[in-house]
């Protein structure tokens, strides 16, 4: 019933790569072993294209394109280290960090992307998410609202991976955040405690209650992230 699999060939950073038709530029870059920074991307979810950290150069394109949502065309020439794309990625990550009252823990995806891009302490001090104690009303899942970067991965994990639709984005600006149900917390919402949200979260805004203590201990031994 299904047609034979078709492939397209693109060039990533000078090397040819064959990928299935319908693959994205990000798929091709990963197949080629090239690193592309991402924040809102999770391979278990449909590409979202919100964070703009994954901009890459495509020959003939007027501006860098988001790798996660751009489909490969046969013969496409891709530069994952396009200077303009990287400048944007750097600025995006720096802006995201500037909104947090404290740097993300070293093991988090955000910290690792920042480190790899060479983003240090943000140059824009000022308003941040209001620091708040962790919400640990659930036996396993903890909210640290101050660390939310509104990437939407937890919401999509709940929708697209688990299918429980318990999480939702709320608020605007510095109040932008995530709520379980009508903000009644994980325990009293429709949450089934599958943990897919915590697994996807790139900042530990949603994490495991039992890991909260470990995270601070580990960061203390490392002298904490920059």
């Amino acid at each position: 019933m299904s047609a034979p699999p078709l492939t397209v060939t693109v060039t990533v950073d000078g090397a040819p790569v064959e990928v299935p038709a319908g693959a994205t530029v990000l798929d091709a870059a990963r197949a080629a072993g090239s690193w592309v920074p991402t924040l809102c991307f999770d391979e278990r979810q449909a590409p979202f294209g919100a964070c703009r950290a994954c901009l890459v150069g495509v020959e003939g394109a007027a501006a860098p394109l988001p790798a996660c949502t751009t489909p490969c065309r046969d013969g496409m020439v891709i530069d994952t280290e396009d200077p303009a794309g990287r400048r944007v990625a750097h600025a995006v990550v720096e802006l995201v960090l500037s909104e947090l009252p404290q740097p993300p823990a070293a093991h988090t995806e955000l910290a690792q992307v920042a480190q790899r891009l060479g983003v240090g302490a943000p140059r824009w001090p000022g308003e941040t998410h209001a620091p708040a104690p962790a919400d640990t009303r659930h036996p396993y899942l903890a909210f640290q609202h101050e660390l939310c970067i509104s990437c939407g991965r937890c919401v999509r994990a709940c929708d697209e991976v688990q299918g429980t639709f318990a999480l939702t984005a709320t608020g605007r600006g510095f109040d932008a955040n995530i709520a379980a149900g009508l903000d009644e917390g994980f325990r009293d919402s429709a949450c089934v405690a599958c943990g897919a949200c915590a697994d996807s979260c790139p900042t530990d805004a949603i994490t495991e209650v039992s890991l909260l203590a470990l995270t601070s201990a580990a960061d203390a031994t490392n002298g904490g992230p920059a």
Partner: protein, 697 residues
């Protein structure tokens, strides 16, 4: 990606349900600090559930069994013992009983929670060291009817495809299963498939969560699944969905089956099953009109008096439409426990060696005699229920039970306890004291799935590696080591240093497993049958069935009434099952944060029944069956039909299985957990003061 929070990370396979999620277990300070899903797990694709991800703290609970325990006299106090003393006691007692009463006075239970290698070792111990085929495992009380049916109808005892078939199916019939609670990761997968457009028909006495994602929900009377499947077959035949070419080329027995169908017109089935005739027609059309469709089922099909017959009728429906043996068209039984498939595959059954080859088959028996160097019995052993009967009758004198809490989970609890008390000697190998260890003379401290190596086989026939993340606590040992120690004490040396060595022996002695070795399984496992060159089988029966002549068999089986029925005295029908937060006897999950999310069994009852019986939500109520009585809180909900009630058996203080009688599947003796007539009333109301009311259906 290194993570500064953890000392090590081990990829293993989940030890809860039969989905077989691949997990990353992160360890710190010799305990599991966190578990996350393996992104490349073929069954879970980077997902897992409340149990697999979070319910691991039981592994370091202080009440873990950490030394052998002995009772000097039956009914006496337990005291700590050394391994040497425990093994010596086992060897002398079992030796004495065998000498006095023969090897068939001893029986063993392997565990569907344990690895393939553990189960293989256990059946070898019973057969070679003791000399009996009295070996069974807990698949007896869950999916033995599925195994029986698939073998009779199609040839092999396993799902015909993989969970990935849900992603390719245009429609699915889900009957007698509640996967968003029992198999949550498959539940999520089915849900996602429906959101992409797969048409789902759910058939269950309760309005399960997935019913809201389907195109149609049928709520039949418990025990009438056979009528439902025959009714669907009737409509498929009547409305031209029969695949004649497939029937002619690849099956036999169609004519006899077709002769049954005129009696199951939708109106007739509606009378038997209390399902609207139009819904039955629509269900058949959803399945018939789909280019590719799956049928998936759980214990709501099997745990009935005629469960094995219903499973055969499910095969009939797939065969008559030719919807089998290709991507998106599969029969996918949702096997209950993590290794319920493998424990049976391994020959931990009273009638078969590995891969379901009969103990009476001379050539097969000889191959095992040659390998093990001992003569083997050709006499089939007892099933679990038969063992209990034999114990009460004085024919069975000793049992060696590992990884099954029979006194909480098996039906007819009072009878099970009587059996335990009747034994001269009982060895229990466990991770915690439980209801069954109360009757043990020797308790051996064993290991959980986080502490052992080997393989589990999931509901897709996928054999996957299990790797130890942490050490067993104290003096506890892995089940594999313990069984080897006991076997040696009994005079039969198991010649393997590691579980991988045992798998090599399994591969040599089992054609369908010939290509399996631990080295070859890798991160994604292999789906048996596996050819010597390592080629596995995600889809069975693409060209031919594994039966004589390569042809599948239509079973012509009429509907028969279940073993129990509502009457004046017991007007409601009780169905038992499971909830998301807990796992079966709850031995593990009750020792985790999951109890904060659910801390008691409750009885679901329809608002109409509740109002009639003067029961309010949360009231403690009495539930009485023909064999027993329990008390628990009521939960008033319209997720259940009037006339039916539902509860779980997760908490020992409830002892739900006191209510379950001796009725069992006619072919496999799988207990009829799903149809029990009960009387429900507020606590303290004597039956004489509140005459039972006829049920509303």
């Amino acid at each position: 990606m290194s993570d500064e929070r953890f000392a090590s990370t081990v990829t293993t396979t989940c030890g809860y349900c039969g989905v077989g999620c691949r997990l990353e277990a992160h360890v710190r300070d010799d305990r599991v600090a966190s578990i996350s899903p393996a992104l490349d797990g073929p069954a879970n694709e980077g997902h897992t559930c409340l149990k697999g991800r979070f319910a691991h703290q039981f592994s370091r609970r202080r009440d873990r069994l950490a030394t052998p325990l002995i009772r000097d006299a039956r009914g006496g106090e337990l005291r700590r013992a050394s391994w040497e003393e425990a093994l010596e006691r086992i060897a002398s007692e079992l030796g004495r009983i065998r000498a006095a009463h023969g090897p068939d006075a001893i029986a063993g239970l392997a565990s569907s929670r344990a690895t393939n290698e553990d189960c293989y070792a256990m059946q070898r111990l019973m057969r070679a060291a003791i000399g009996t085929n009295n070996i069974d495992n807990c698949s007896r009380v869950c999916h033995s009817p599925t195994s029986y049916a698939l073998r009779r109808s199609l040839g092999l005892s396993g799902a015909t495809g993989s969970f990935a078939d849900f992603d390719h199916a245009d429609a699915t019939i889900l009957i007698g299963a509640n996967p968003t609670e029992g198999h949550p990761v498959v539940g999520a997968r089915i849900k996602q498939a429906t959101l992409r457009g797969m048409k789902l028909v759910t058939i269950d006495p309760r309005r399960i969560e997935l019913a809201d994602y389907g195109v149609l929900h049928l709520a039949p009377r418990p025990g009438t699944n056979a009528a439902i499947m025959l009714g669907i077959a009737h409509v498929l035949e009547r409305d031209g969905f029969v695949n004649r070419a497939f029937i002619d080329e690849r099956t036999d027995g169609w004519d006899a089956f077709a002769e049954l169908l005129p009696a199951y017109a939708p109106e007739a089935v509606a009378r038997i099953a209390a399902v609207p005739a139009a819904d039955l027609e629509r269900a058949a059309h959803v399945y018939g009109e789909a280019a590719d469709a799956c049928i998936s089922w759980g214990l709501g099909v099997t745990e009935h008096k005629y469960g094995s017959e219903v499973a055969q009728l499910i095969c009939d429906v797939a065969l008559m439409t030719g919807k089998i043996g290709r991507p998106g068209s599969a029969l996918l039984p949702l096997r209950g426990q993590n290794n319920v498939q493998g424990s049976s595959d391994m020959g931990a059954l009273p009638d078969t060696y590995t891969a379901y080859r009969s103990v009476t088959d001379e050539a097969v028996a000889r191959s095992f005699e040659d390998a093990w160097g001992v003569p083997l019995s050709r006499r089939e052993g007892w099933t679990i229920p038969q063992m209990f009967d034999a114990a009460v009758a004085g024919e069975l004198r000793a049992m060696y039970i590992f990884g099954e809490d029979v006194a909480q989970t098996d039906p007819n609890t009072a009878h099970v306890v009587h059996a335990m008390e009747s034994l001269d000697f009982l060895v229990v190998q466990e991770i915690f004291e439980n209801e069954t260890t109360k009757y043990a003379d020797v308790i051996l401290p064993a290991s959980s799935f986080l502490e052992k190596g080997g393989t589990f086989t999931n509901a897709e026939r996928r054999v996957q590696l299990v790797a130890p993340a942490i050490d067993p606590p104290g003096e506890a040992r892995t089940d594999f080591e313990i069984i080897a120690l006991v076997s040696r004490a009994l005079g039969h040396e198991l010649p393997w240093a590691t579980p991988a060595d045992a798998m090599d022996e399994i591969a040599v002695l089992t054609p369908d497993w010939a290509g399996i070795s631990h080295a070859r399984l890798g991160r994604r496992g292999l789906q048996w049958p596996v050819a010597p060159d390592g080629t596995d089988a995600p889809i069975l029966y693409e060209r031919e069935f594994s039966r004589p002549g390569g042809r599948a068999h239509f079973a012509a089986l009429p509907y028969k009434a279940p073993g129990d029925a509502a009457d004046e005295q017991f007007p409601l029908i009780l169905v038992t099952g499971r909830r998301l937060q807990h796992y079966n006897a709850g031995t593990m999950t009750r020792r985790t944060g999951n109890v904060e999310l659910m801390d008691a069994d409750v009885l679901e009852i329809h608002p109409d029944d509740a109002a009639r019986l003067w029961i309010s939500n949360g009231d403690r109520i009495s539930v009485r069956s023909r064999v027993g009585r329990i008390e628990l809180p009521a939960q008033v909900t319209d997720h259940i039909e009037p006339g039916h009630v539902f509860t779980t058996f997760h908490f020992p203080e409830t002892r739900t299985n006191l209510l379950i009688g001796a009725s069992a599947d006619v072919n496999t003796s799988c207990p009829e957990y799903k149809v029990v007539a009960v009387d429900v009333r507020p606590l303290g109301e004597e039956p004489a003061r509140t005459p039972a009311l006829a049920s509303g259906t």
